[in-house]
Amino acid sequence: MEELRKRAGNLLESGQVRVVIGYGEGTGKRVRAVFIQDAGQADCLIFDERCRQNLALYLTRHEVKKLGKPAIVASLPALRAILQLAGECQIAENDIVVLGIGEDGSMLDLPDFAAIEKHVASTVREPDPAEKAQFDLVLAMSLEERWKYWQEQLSRCFKCYACRQACPMCYCSRCTVECNQPQWIPVPSHDLGNLEWHVMRAMHLAGRCVDCGDCSRACPLDIPLYLLNRFLIMDIESRFNQRAGTTAALDYALSTFHPDDKDDFIR
């Protein structure tokens, strides 16, 4: 933590960056994103196991970009998001400084995207056991049970779009739900609107989701959205051997193909 604060302070002091995006203490035991613009405030930066929000989402925010060149505190999911954002031309190597945090909480030296790629390639984070159990449970259900399960889960959704807004890959300036000529997705949060919105969200993140899980954590109504993303992540990995957020060069499952891609359902 001391090193983090020192490095953040130096970056600000030397003018290398204008803002450090990091974590600070929040309400009660919560932590929150902080935007340090003054070296003197670097001491409020923290990093511990509570710091899970994927701060990479702020890199594409107009309001944050306005502040000037950022340094960002980034552990694995944010690092992956940074690579994916780079692949999608949203950030450039020289536009940010990455204060990488290793899986053990130590500071990493990640001077460029190549170093991030190397770290990401060599780091494995096991999925949360409870989440994995839930995933297997849904997978084991019958078609009708899965339908009921998702109808029940999605019936809660009131379309606050916290899932979208919390997602580092949802940086579009106009989301498909905001397209109204034609109106692809019904605006109201009725059953159809909710189903279509979540199918679309999952598909638009297929091959792009970096598996940070922030969509689920952001959901005020605890809808297990990670299940949808995880399903597609696993499908893409097993079928196409591709994984989002592993390279700063674009390698998107849905804009690439292999002539021998296997399917078992096309007549």
């Binding site: 849904v138 997978l139 259900m141 078609l143 009708e144 049970e145 899965r146 339908w147 009921k148 399960y149 998702w150 109808q151 498909t176 692809w184 997705i185 019904p186 109201p188 009725h190 059953d191 159809l192 609107g193 189903l195 279509e196 979540h198 199918v199 679309m200 999952a202 598909m203 297929a206 091959g207 299940l227 949808l228 399903f231 597609l232 499908d235 893409i236 079928r239 196409f240 499952a253 849905l254 804009s255 690439t256 193909f257 292999h258 002539p259 891609d261 399917d263 359902f265 096309i266 007549r267």
Partner: protein, 144 residues
């Protein structure tokens, strides 16, 4: 009560399946009238949301058909489409949407008979499954 007549929407590419269906006609091969075709330049153009729209608007079944691999008029549109369908179909299934109602096929411009067969088998399969009540129910959630 009259037998349930499924409504099937077919999304097809212009160069292979649409032409193949033309050949079915030219060859005067009869098939079930339950299917109606919407023409696209290429399967690569078919937005996955259109399939959901079709279900929402009351389709009981869907056919998506284009050029065989390596035969795409645009070289690779069907390869992109195939990836999209692999993932989309998996996701739908994972969400409990009945993918037995969606038939994907490659029908070339020479396969007039195959088109008739794809239509007939899909119509029969969907007829057996019955109306897609699950989806109709949520489609009515707005009160339309």
């Amino acid at each position: 009560m009259p037998e349930f007549e499924p409504r099937i929407v077919a999304f097809v590419c212009n160069w292979c399946t649409y032409a193949g269906a033309d050949l079915t006609g030219t060859s005067r091969i009869k098939y079930s009238p339950n299917v109606e075709v919407i023409r696209f330049p290429c399967t690569g153009r078919i937005d996955f949301m259109l399939l959901l729209k079709a279900f929402a608007e009351g389709a009981d079944g869907i056919i998506v058909s284009g050029c065989h691999p390596n035969d795409c008029h645009y070289t690779s549109g069907n390869f992109h489409a195939r990836r999209r369908w692999i993932l989309f179909r998996g996701l739908l299934d994972f969400m409990g949407i009945d993918v037995r109602r969606v038939q994907f096929s490659w029908v070339s411009a020479a396969e007039g008979a195959k088109w008739a067969d794809v239509v007939n088998t899909t119509v029969e399969a969907v007829r057996k499954l019955g109306p897609y009540d699950n989806y109709r129910q949520i489609a009515r959630s707005g009160g339309v």
